[in-house]
Amino acid sequence: MASPTEENPARTLLVAFVVCAVCSVVVSATAVFLEPRQRANREREREQQIQAIVARQPGLAELLEGLEGVSLEPHVVELATGELADHIDAATFDARRAANDPLLGVALPADRDPARIGRRSRFAVVYLIEAAGRIELVILPVHGSGYASTLYGYLALAGDTNTVAGLSFYEHGETPGLGSEIEEPYFLESWPGKLVRDEKGELRIGIALDEVDPDSPDAAYEVDGLTGATRTCSGVTQLLRYWLGEDGFAPFLERVRLKNEGGP
Protein backbone atom coordinates (compact mmCIF):
# COMPACT_ATOMS: atom_id res chain seq x y z
CA MET A 1 0.00 0.00 0.00
CA ALA A 2 1.21 3.49 -0.82
CA SER A 3 1.18 5.02 2.64
CA PRO A 4 1.44 3.00 5.82
CA THR A 5 -1.87 2.98 7.63
CA GLU A 6 -0.89 3.81 11.14
CA GLU A 7 -2.48 1.93 13.96
CA ASN A 8 -3.11 4.39 16.72
CA PRO A 9 -6.36 4.32 18.66
CA ALA A 10 -7.23 7.98 18.14
CA ARG A 11 -6.87 7.73 14.39
CA THR A 12 -8.83 4.46 14.25
CA LEU A 13 -11.65 6.01 16.26
CA LEU A 14 -11.65 9.12 14.10
CA VAL A 15 -11.87 7.11 10.86
CA ALA A 16 -14.65 4.94 12.29
CA PHE A 17 -16.56 8.00 13.46
CA VAL A 18 -16.24 9.86 10.16
CA VAL A 19 -17.29 6.81 8.11
CA CYS A 20 -20.34 6.29 10.34
CA ALA A 21 -21.28 9.97 10.22
CA VAL A 22 -21.04 10.16 6.42
CA CYS A 23 -22.94 6.90 5.94
CA SER A 24 -25.74 7.90 8.31
CA VAL A 25 -26.16 11.25 6.58
CA VAL A 26 -26.37 9.52 3.17
CA VAL A 27 -28.89 6.95 4.42
CA SER A 28 -31.12 9.45 6.26
CA ALA A 29 -31.02 11.95 3.41
CA THR A 30 -32.16 9.26 0.95
CA ALA A 31 -34.90 8.08 3.29
CA VAL A 32 -36.23 11.58 3.90
CA PHE A 33 -35.95 12.58 0.25
CA LEU A 34 -37.79 9.49 -1.05
CA GLU A 35 -40.40 9.26 1.73
CA PRO A 36 -43.17 11.15 -0.14
CA ARG A 37 -42.94 8.79 -3.13
CA GLN A 38 -42.89 5.73 -0.89
CA ARG A 39 -45.88 6.99 1.05
CA ALA A 40 -47.77 7.52 -2.22
CA ASN A 41 -46.95 3.91 -3.15
CA ARG A 42 -48.24 2.64 0.21
CA GLU A 43 -51.41 4.72 -0.11
CA ARG A 44 -52.05 3.32 -3.57
CA GLU A 45 -51.57 -0.18 -2.27
CA ARG A 46 -54.04 0.50 0.54
CA GLU A 47 -56.63 1.73 -1.95
CA GLN A 48 -56.11 -1.38 -4.04
CA GLN A 49 -56.55 -3.59 -0.97
CA ILE A 50 -59.90 -1.99 -0.23
CA GLN A 51 -60.93 -2.37 -3.85
CA ALA A 52 -59.82 -6.01 -3.74
CA ILE A 53 -61.89 -6.69 -0.61
CA VAL A 54 -64.89 -5.16 -2.32
CA ALA A 55 -64.23 -7.10 -5.52
CA ARG A 56 -64.09 -10.40 -3.60
CA GLN A 57 -67.58 -9.95 -2.17
CA PRO A 58 -70.11 -11.85 -4.23
CA GLY A 59 -72.70 -9.53 -5.64
CA LEU A 60 -71.18 -6.42 -4.16
CA ALA A 61 -69.54 -5.13 -7.32
CA GLU A 62 -72.88 -5.47 -9.13
CA LEU A 63 -74.58 -3.69 -6.27
CA LEU A 64 -72.11 -0.84 -6.59
CA GLU A 65 -72.56 -0.61 -10.33
CA GLY A 66 -76.30 -1.19 -10.44
CA LEU A 67 -77.42 1.42 -7.91
CA GLU A 68 -77.19 5.13 -8.33
CA GLY A 69 -75.29 6.94 -5.65
CA VAL A 70 -73.91 3.83 -3.99
CA SER A 71 -70.21 3.97 -3.35
CA LEU A 72 -67.51 3.19 -0.90
CA GLU A 73 -67.46 6.14 1.47
CA PRO A 74 -64.78 6.85 4.05
CA HIS A 75 -66.01 8.10 7.43
CA VAL A 76 -64.21 9.07 10.60
CA VAL A 77 -65.49 7.22 13.67
CA GLU A 78 -64.91 8.13 17.30
CA LEU A 79 -64.02 4.77 18.80
CA ALA A 80 -65.18 5.36 22.38
CA THR A 81 -68.71 6.41 21.44
CA GLY A 82 -69.01 4.70 18.08
CA GLU A 83 -70.38 7.89 16.58
CA LEU A 84 -69.46 9.16 13.16
CA ALA A 85 -67.26 12.23 13.48
CA ASP A 86 -67.96 13.71 10.09
CA HIS A 87 -66.53 17.08 11.11
CA ILE A 88 -63.11 15.46 10.57
CA ASP A 89 -62.10 15.11 6.95
CA ALA A 90 -61.63 11.39 6.28
CA ALA A 91 -59.51 12.04 3.23
CA THR A 92 -56.76 13.74 5.19
CA PHE A 93 -57.07 12.11 8.62
CA ASP A 94 -54.01 9.99 9.40
CA ALA A 95 -54.77 7.60 12.25
CA ARG A 96 -51.17 6.45 12.50
CA ARG A 97 -49.93 9.96 13.08
CA ALA A 98 -52.87 10.73 15.38
CA ALA A 99 -51.91 7.83 17.67
CA ASN A 100 -48.84 9.78 18.79
CA ASP A 101 -50.67 13.07 19.11
CA PRO A 102 -51.28 14.08 22.76
CA LEU A 103 -54.89 15.14 22.03
CA LEU A 104 -55.94 12.72 19.29
CA GLY A 105 -54.22 9.63 20.66
CA VAL A 106 -54.52 7.63 23.88
CA ALA A 107 -51.98 5.41 25.63
CA LEU A 108 -53.24 1.91 26.27
CA PRO A 109 -52.58 0.35 29.69
CA ALA A 110 -50.74 -2.97 29.34
CA ASP A 111 -53.68 -5.05 30.56
CA ARG A 112 -55.99 -3.56 27.94
CA ASP A 113 -53.59 -3.80 25.04
CA PRO A 114 -53.77 -7.36 23.70
CA ALA A 115 -52.74 -6.22 20.22
CA ARG A 116 -49.58 -4.69 21.79
CA ILE A 117 -49.79 -1.36 19.99
CA GLY A 118 -48.98 0.93 22.94
CA ARG A 119 -51.01 3.90 21.72
CA ARG A 120 -53.91 4.29 19.36
CA SER A 121 -55.82 7.12 17.80
CA ARG A 122 -59.18 8.01 19.35
CA PHE A 123 -60.59 8.19 15.84
CA ALA A 124 -60.41 5.79 12.91
CA VAL A 125 -61.28 5.95 9.23
CA VAL A 126 -63.79 3.26 8.26
CA TYR A 127 -65.29 2.62 4.84
CA LEU A 128 -69.00 1.99 4.44
CA ILE A 129 -71.10 0.80 1.57
CA GLU A 130 -74.68 1.90 1.99
CA ALA A 131 -77.51 0.90 -0.28
CA ALA A 132 -81.16 1.83 0.18
CA GLY A 133 -80.55 3.06 3.71
CA ARG A 134 -78.89 -0.17 4.79
CA ILE A 135 -75.17 -0.55 5.46
CA GLU A 136 -74.11 -3.51 3.35
CA LEU A 137 -70.42 -3.59 4.15
CA VAL A 138 -68.20 -2.16 6.86
CA ILE A 139 -64.45 -2.04 6.28
CA LEU A 140 -62.43 -1.49 9.44
CA PRO A 141 -58.73 -0.68 9.67
CA VAL A 142 -56.96 -3.04 12.09
CA HIS A 143 -53.41 -3.34 13.30
CA GLY A 144 -51.36 -5.05 15.97
CA SER A 145 -48.09 -6.78 16.73
CA GLY A 146 -47.28 -10.02 14.99
CA TYR A 147 -43.99 -11.81 15.51
CA ALA A 148 -41.42 -9.42 14.04
CA SER A 149 -43.46 -6.39 13.07
CA THR A 150 -46.73 -4.53 13.28
CA LEU A 151 -49.38 -5.90 10.93
CA TYR A 152 -51.68 -3.41 9.20
CA GLY A 153 -54.78 -4.58 7.40
CA TYR A 154 -58.48 -4.25 6.77
CA LEU A 155 -61.31 -6.35 8.07
CA ALA A 156 -64.59 -6.26 6.18
CA LEU A 157 -67.84 -7.23 7.89
CA ALA A 158 -71.21 -7.86 6.30
CA GLY A 159 -74.22 -5.73 7.24
CA ASP A 160 -75.09 -7.96 10.24
CA THR A 161 -71.67 -6.87 11.71
CA ASN A 162 -71.08 -10.45 12.84
CA THR A 163 -70.02 -12.14 9.59
CA VAL A 164 -66.54 -11.65 8.16
CA ALA A 165 -66.66 -10.58 4.54
CA GLY A 166 -62.91 -10.38 4.06
CA LEU A 167 -59.54 -9.74 5.62
CA SER A 168 -56.32 -8.49 4.11
CA PHE A 169 -52.97 -7.10 5.21
CA TYR A 170 -51.26 -4.32 3.31
CA GLU A 171 -48.17 -3.85 5.43
CA HIS A 172 -46.09 -6.13 7.62
CA GLY A 173 -42.49 -7.23 8.11
CA GLU A 174 -43.01 -10.85 9.05
CA THR A 175 -40.58 -13.65 8.14
CA PRO A 176 -40.77 -14.34 4.41
CA GLY A 177 -42.24 -17.78 3.78
CA LEU A 178 -43.56 -18.21 7.33
CA GLY A 179 -45.40 -15.26 8.89
CA SER A 180 -45.65 -13.58 5.50
CA GLU A 181 -48.17 -16.27 4.51
CA ILE A 182 -50.84 -14.07 6.14
CA GLU A 183 -51.02 -12.09 2.90
CA GLU A 184 -51.36 -15.17 0.68
CA PRO A 185 -54.72 -15.67 -1.04
CA TYR A 186 -55.26 -19.20 0.33
CA PHE A 187 -55.08 -17.88 3.89
CA LEU A 188 -57.18 -14.77 3.28
CA GLU A 189 -59.80 -16.79 1.42
CA SER A 190 -60.41 -18.90 4.52
CA TRP A 191 -61.88 -15.91 6.38
CA PRO A 192 -65.11 -14.90 4.58
CA GLY A 193 -68.15 -16.39 6.30
CA LYS A 194 -66.52 -16.79 9.73
CA LEU A 195 -68.56 -15.43 12.62
CA VAL A 196 -67.22 -12.86 15.07
CA ARG A 197 -69.25 -13.58 18.22
CA ASP A 198 -71.33 -16.51 19.46
CA GLU A 199 -74.95 -16.26 20.71
CA LYS A 200 -73.76 -15.14 24.15
CA GLY A 201 -71.88 -12.25 22.61
CA GLU A 202 -68.48 -13.77 23.36
CA LEU A 203 -65.70 -12.92 20.87
CA ARG A 204 -64.74 -16.23 19.28
CA ILE A 205 -63.09 -15.22 16.00
CA GLY A 206 -59.48 -16.27 15.56
CA ILE A 207 -56.90 -18.62 14.16
CA ALA A 208 -56.73 -22.20 15.41
CA LEU A 209 -53.42 -23.65 16.54
CA ASP A 210 -53.60 -26.23 13.76
CA GLU A 211 -56.28 -27.39 11.36
CA VAL A 212 -59.86 -26.73 12.38
CA ASP A 213 -62.01 -29.82 12.69
CA PRO A 214 -65.03 -28.99 10.50
CA ASP A 215 -67.33 -30.70 13.02
CA SER A 216 -66.08 -28.83 16.07
CA PRO A 217 -68.10 -25.90 17.47
CA ASP A 218 -65.09 -23.62 16.75
CA ALA A 219 -65.27 -24.21 13.01
CA ALA A 220 -67.77 -21.39 12.55
CA TYR A 221 -65.36 -18.89 14.09
CA GLU A 222 -61.81 -20.09 13.45
CA VAL A 223 -59.59 -20.58 10.42
CA ASP A 224 -56.68 -23.03 10.00
CA GLY A 225 -53.39 -21.99 11.58
CA LEU A 226 -50.20 -21.47 9.60
CA THR A 227 -47.30 -23.85 10.23
CA GLY A 228 -44.20 -22.06 11.49
CA ALA A 229 -46.10 -18.84 12.11
CA THR A 230 -47.65 -19.48 15.52
CA ARG A 231 -46.81 -16.07 16.95
CA THR A 232 -47.89 -14.23 13.82
CA CYS A 233 -51.20 -16.11 13.96
CA SER A 234 -51.78 -15.40 17.64
CA GLY A 235 -50.99 -11.76 16.86
CA VAL A 236 -53.71 -11.76 14.19
CA THR A 237 -56.21 -13.34 16.61
CA GLN A 238 -55.37 -10.79 19.31
CA LEU A 239 -55.57 -7.81 17.02
CA LEU A 240 -58.91 -8.92 15.54
CA ARG A 241 -60.40 -9.47 18.99
CA TYR A 242 -59.04 -6.13 20.20
CA TRP A 243 -60.43 -4.12 17.32
CA LEU A 244 -63.76 -5.95 17.38
CA GLY A 245 -63.98 -5.63 21.16
CA GLU A 246 -65.29 -2.92 23.48
CA ASP A 247 -62.06 -0.88 23.27
CA GLY A 248 -62.16 -1.11 19.48
CA PHE A 249 -65.07 -0.84 17.09
CA ALA A 250 -67.75 -2.63 19.17
CA PRO A 251 -69.68 0.59 20.00
CA PHE A 252 -69.64 1.61 16.35
CA LEU A 253 -70.67 -1.85 15.12
CA GLU A 254 -73.56 -1.85 17.62
CA ARG A 255 -74.82 1.39 16.05
CA VAL A 256 -74.51 -0.07 12.56
CA ARG A 257 -76.50 -3.13 13.65
CA LEU A 258 -79.25 -1.03 15.22
CA LYS A 259 -79.45 1.17 12.14
CA ASN A 260 -79.74 -1.86 9.87
CA GLU A 261 -82.46 -3.35 12.08
CA GLY A 262 -84.41 -0.16 11.72
CA GLY A 263 -83.75 1.17 15.22
CA PRO A 264 -82.89 4.76 16.05
Binding site: T5, E6, C23
Partner: protein, 222 residues
Protein backbone atom coordinates in the same frame (compact mmCIF):
# COMPACT_ATOMS: atom_id res chain seq x y z
CA UNK B 1 -10.34 3.87 -23.03
CA UNK B 2 -7.02 2.04 -22.91
CA UNK B 3 -6.76 -1.71 -23.08
CA UNK B 4 -6.02 -2.09 -19.38
CA UNK B 5 -9.30 -0.49 -18.36
CA UNK B 6 -11.15 -2.47 -20.99
CA UNK B 7 -9.67 -5.64 -19.54
CA UNK B 8 -10.66 -4.62 -16.02
CA UNK B 9 -14.19 -4.06 -17.23
CA UNK B 10 -14.63 -7.16 -19.42
CA UNK B 11 -12.56 -9.76 -17.61
CA UNK B 12 -15.21 -10.45 -14.92
CA UNK B 13 -17.92 -10.98 -17.54
CA UNK B 14 -16.68 -14.26 -19.04
CA UNK B 15 -13.08 -14.93 -17.99
CA UNK B 16 -13.52 -14.44 -14.25
CA UNK B 17 -17.25 -14.49 -13.83
CA UNK B 18 -18.17 -14.08 -10.15
CA UNK B 19 -20.92 -16.70 -10.29
CA UNK B 20 -19.60 -19.15 -12.89
CA UNK B 21 -15.90 -19.21 -11.96
CA UNK B 22 -15.77 -18.01 -8.36
CA UNK B 23 -19.21 -19.46 -7.51
CA UNK B 24 -20.13 -16.46 -5.34
CA UNK B 25 -23.54 -14.85 -4.97
CA UNK B 26 -25.39 -18.04 -5.88
CA UNK B 27 -27.98 -17.62 -3.11
CA UNK B 28 -29.60 -14.58 -4.68
CA UNK B 29 -29.19 -16.11 -8.15
CA UNK B 30 -31.51 -18.91 -7.03
CA UNK B 31 -33.97 -16.71 -5.22
CA UNK B 32 -34.74 -13.88 -7.61
CA UNK B 33 -34.62 -15.52 -11.05
CA UNK B 34 -38.16 -16.88 -11.21
CA UNK B 35 -39.02 -14.10 -13.61
CA UNK B 36 -36.80 -11.99 -15.82
CA UNK B 37 -38.15 -8.73 -14.39
CA UNK B 38 -37.07 -9.46 -10.81
CA UNK B 39 -33.70 -10.73 -12.07
CA UNK B 40 -33.16 -7.49 -14.00
CA UNK B 41 -33.99 -5.29 -11.02
CA UNK B 42 -31.69 -7.35 -8.81
CA UNK B 43 -28.88 -7.04 -11.39
CA UNK B 44 -29.37 -3.30 -11.50
CA UNK B 45 -29.34 -3.01 -7.70
CA UNK B 46 -26.26 -5.20 -7.28
CA UNK B 47 -24.32 -3.52 -10.08
CA UNK B 48 -25.09 -0.08 -8.65
CA UNK B 49 -24.12 -1.11 -5.11
CA UNK B 50 -20.96 -2.89 -6.28
CA UNK B 51 -19.75 -0.02 -8.46
CA UNK B 52 -20.45 2.57 -5.77
CA UNK B 53 -18.95 0.51 -2.94
CA UNK B 54 -15.79 -0.27 -4.94
CA UNK B 55 -15.42 3.41 -5.78
CA UNK B 56 -16.00 4.63 -2.23
CA UNK B 57 -13.79 2.00 -0.61
CA UNK B 58 -11.00 2.58 -3.10
CA UNK B 59 -11.17 6.33 -2.46
CA UNK B 60 -10.51 5.93 1.26
CA UNK B 61 -8.31 2.83 1.08
CA UNK B 62 -5.19 4.67 2.23
CA UNK B 63 -6.93 6.24 5.22
CA UNK B 64 -8.48 3.16 6.76
CA UNK B 65 -6.48 1.44 9.52
CA UNK B 66 -6.11 -2.27 8.76
CA UNK B 67 -7.66 -3.39 12.04
CA UNK B 68 -11.09 -1.94 11.22
CA UNK B 69 -11.04 -2.20 7.44
CA UNK B 70 -13.67 -4.97 7.22
CA UNK B 71 -16.08 -3.11 9.48
CA UNK B 72 -15.58 0.07 7.45
CA UNK B 73 -16.20 -1.84 4.21
CA UNK B 74 -19.36 -3.47 5.57
CA UNK B 75 -20.65 -0.13 6.90
CA UNK B 76 -20.24 1.46 3.48
CA UNK B 77 -21.77 -1.49 1.66
CA UNK B 78 -24.71 -1.71 4.08
CA UNK B 79 -25.43 2.01 3.70
CA UNK B 80 -25.39 1.72 -0.10
CA UNK B 81 -27.71 -1.28 0.07
CA UNK B 82 -30.22 0.67 2.17
CA UNK B 83 -30.04 3.53 -0.33
CA UNK B 84 -30.63 1.12 -3.25
CA UNK B 85 -33.54 -0.49 -1.38
CA UNK B 86 -35.11 2.91 -0.67
CA UNK B 87 -34.87 3.82 -4.35
CA UNK B 88 -36.56 0.58 -5.36
CA UNK B 89 -39.36 1.15 -2.86
CA UNK B 90 -39.89 4.62 -4.30
CA UNK B 91 -39.63 3.84 -8.00
CA UNK B 92 -40.34 0.11 -8.43
CA UNK B 93 -42.72 -0.65 -5.56
CA UNK B 94 -44.28 -3.81 -6.97
CA UNK B 95 -40.96 -5.39 -7.93
CA UNK B 96 -39.36 -4.38 -4.64
CA UNK B 97 -42.12 -6.29 -2.84
CA UNK B 98 -41.39 -9.39 -4.90
CA UNK B 99 -37.67 -9.10 -4.21
CA UNK B 100 -38.55 -8.72 -0.50
CA UNK B 101 -35.46 -9.40 1.58
CA UNK B 102 -33.09 -10.14 -1.25
CA UNK B 103 -32.15 -6.55 -2.00
CA UNK B 104 -31.35 -6.06 1.68
CA UNK B 105 -29.29 -9.23 1.57
CA UNK B 106 -26.95 -7.78 -1.06
CA UNK B 107 -24.96 -6.68 1.97
CA UNK B 108 -24.11 -10.33 2.63
CA UNK B 109 -23.44 -11.07 -1.04
CA UNK B 110 -19.87 -12.36 -1.14
CA UNK B 111 -19.21 -10.68 -4.48
CA UNK B 112 -19.49 -7.19 -2.99
CA UNK B 113 -17.24 -7.73 0.02
CA UNK B 114 -14.93 -9.91 -2.07
CA UNK B 115 -14.30 -7.19 -4.64
CA UNK B 116 -13.90 -4.57 -1.91
CA UNK B 117 -11.31 -6.59 -0.03
CA UNK B 118 -9.35 -8.05 -2.97
CA UNK B 119 -9.58 -5.27 -5.56
CA UNK B 120 -10.76 -1.91 -4.26
CA UNK B 121 -8.37 -1.94 -1.28
CA UNK B 122 -5.39 -2.25 -3.65
CA UNK B 123 -6.32 -0.34 -6.80
CA UNK B 124 -7.06 3.18 -7.98
CA UNK B 125 -10.55 4.66 -7.86
CA UNK B 126 -11.06 4.47 -11.63
CA UNK B 127 -9.94 0.87 -11.91
CA UNK B 128 -12.05 -0.11 -8.88
CA UNK B 129 -15.16 1.50 -10.37
CA UNK B 130 -14.62 -0.40 -13.62
CA UNK B 131 -13.99 -3.62 -11.71
CA UNK B 132 -17.25 -3.12 -9.78
CA UNK B 133 -19.17 -2.43 -12.97
CA UNK B 134 -17.55 -5.42 -14.70
CA UNK B 135 -18.36 -7.80 -11.87
CA UNK B 136 -21.90 -6.42 -11.76
CA UNK B 137 -22.20 -7.16 -15.47
CA UNK B 138 -20.77 -10.66 -14.97
CA UNK B 139 -23.37 -11.32 -12.26
CA UNK B 140 -26.07 -9.82 -14.49
CA UNK B 141 -25.18 -11.99 -17.52
CA UNK B 142 -25.74 -15.14 -15.48
CA UNK B 143 -28.88 -13.86 -13.74
CA UNK B 144 -30.46 -12.69 -16.98
CA UNK B 145 -29.71 -16.04 -18.63
CA UNK B 146 -31.15 -17.98 -15.68
CA UNK B 147 -34.15 -15.64 -15.37
CA UNK B 148 -34.94 -15.91 -19.08
CA UNK B 149 -34.78 -19.71 -19.12
CA UNK B 150 -36.84 -20.03 -15.93
CA UNK B 151 -39.58 -17.61 -16.99
CA UNK B 152 -39.75 -19.03 -20.52
CA UNK B 153 -39.93 -22.67 -19.47
CA UNK B 154 -41.80 -22.08 -16.20
CA UNK B 155 -44.49 -19.74 -17.49
CA UNK B 156 -44.02 -19.59 -21.27
CA UNK B 157 -43.42 -15.86 -21.03
CA UNK B 158 -40.66 -13.26 -21.01
CA UNK B 159 -41.03 -10.06 -18.98
CA UNK B 160 -44.68 -10.97 -18.57
CA UNK B 161 -45.39 -11.24 -22.31
CA UNK B 162 -46.86 -14.63 -23.15
CA UNK B 163 -44.64 -16.07 -25.91
CA UNK B 164 -45.63 -19.73 -25.78
CA UNK B 165 -49.40 -20.41 -25.76
CA UNK B 166 -50.22 -22.33 -22.58
CA UNK B 167 -51.90 -25.71 -22.74
CA UNK B 168 -54.32 -24.54 -20.04
CA UNK B 169 -55.47 -21.81 -22.46
CA UNK B 170 -55.87 -23.95 -25.57
CA UNK B 171 -52.20 -23.66 -26.59
CA UNK B 172 -49.59 -26.39 -26.76
CA UNK B 173 -47.05 -25.39 -24.11
CA UNK B 174 -47.05 -27.26 -20.82
CA UNK B 175 -45.11 -25.14 -18.26
CA UNK B 176 -42.41 -26.97 -16.34
CA UNK B 177 -43.27 -26.60 -12.67
CA UNK B 178 -39.68 -27.27 -11.58
CA UNK B 179 -38.58 -24.05 -13.31
CA UNK B 180 -40.72 -22.04 -10.92
CA UNK B 181 -38.92 -23.37 -7.85
CA UNK B 182 -35.42 -22.20 -6.87
CA UNK B 183 -33.53 -25.51 -7.31
CA UNK B 184 -33.99 -25.27 -11.08
CA UNK B 185 -31.52 -22.37 -11.02
CA UNK B 186 -28.86 -24.82 -9.80
CA UNK B 187 -29.30 -26.92 -12.94
CA UNK B 188 -29.21 -23.89 -15.22
CA UNK B 189 -26.16 -22.37 -13.52
CA UNK B 190 -24.49 -25.78 -13.71
CA UNK B 191 -25.27 -25.94 -17.41
CA UNK B 192 -23.92 -22.43 -17.94
CA UNK B 193 -20.69 -23.27 -16.12
CA UNK B 194 -20.30 -26.36 -18.30
CA UNK B 195 -20.85 -24.33 -21.49
CA UNK B 196 -18.45 -21.61 -20.32
CA UNK B 197 -15.71 -24.08 -19.44
CA UNK B 198 -16.14 -25.91 -22.75
CA UNK B 199 -15.56 -22.55 -24.45
CA UNK B 200 -12.78 -21.33 -22.16
CA UNK B 201 -10.96 -24.48 -21.21
CA UNK B 202 -8.49 -22.65 -18.94
CA UNK B 203 -11.30 -22.39 -16.39
CA UNK B 204 -11.49 -26.15 -15.98
CA UNK B 205 -10.17 -27.03 -12.54
CA UNK B 206 -7.86 -29.93 -11.95
CA UNK B 207 -9.71 -32.61 -10.10
CA UNK B 208 -8.69 -32.61 -6.47
CA UNK B 209 -9.56 -36.20 -5.84
CA UNK B 210 -9.35 -39.27 -8.03
CA UNK B 211 -12.50 -41.18 -8.62
CA UNK B 212 -12.04 -44.33 -6.64
CA UNK B 213 -13.34 -47.54 -8.11
CA UNK B 214 -14.29 -49.73 -5.17
CA UNK B 215 -12.52 -53.09 -5.36
CA UNK B 216 -14.81 -55.96 -6.20
CA UNK B 217 -15.50 -57.79 -2.97
CA UNK B 218 -13.56 -61.02 -2.69
CA UNK B 219 -15.77 -64.00 -3.04
CA UNK B 220 -15.99 -65.95 0.17
CA UNK B 221 -14.51 -69.39 0.10
CA UNK B 222 -17.33 -71.57 1.15
Amino acid sequence: MNTDSTRTLTRPVFDENPIALQVLGVCSALAVTKTLATALVMCLALTAVLTASNTAISAIRKLVPRSIRLIVQITIIASLVIVADQFLRAFAWELSKELSVFVGLIVTNCIVLGRAETFAMNNSVGASALDGLGNGLGYSVILIAVGSVRELLGAGALLGYQLLPLASEDGWFQPIALMRSPPSAFFIIGGLIWLLRTWKTSQVEESETDVLVPPTPARSES
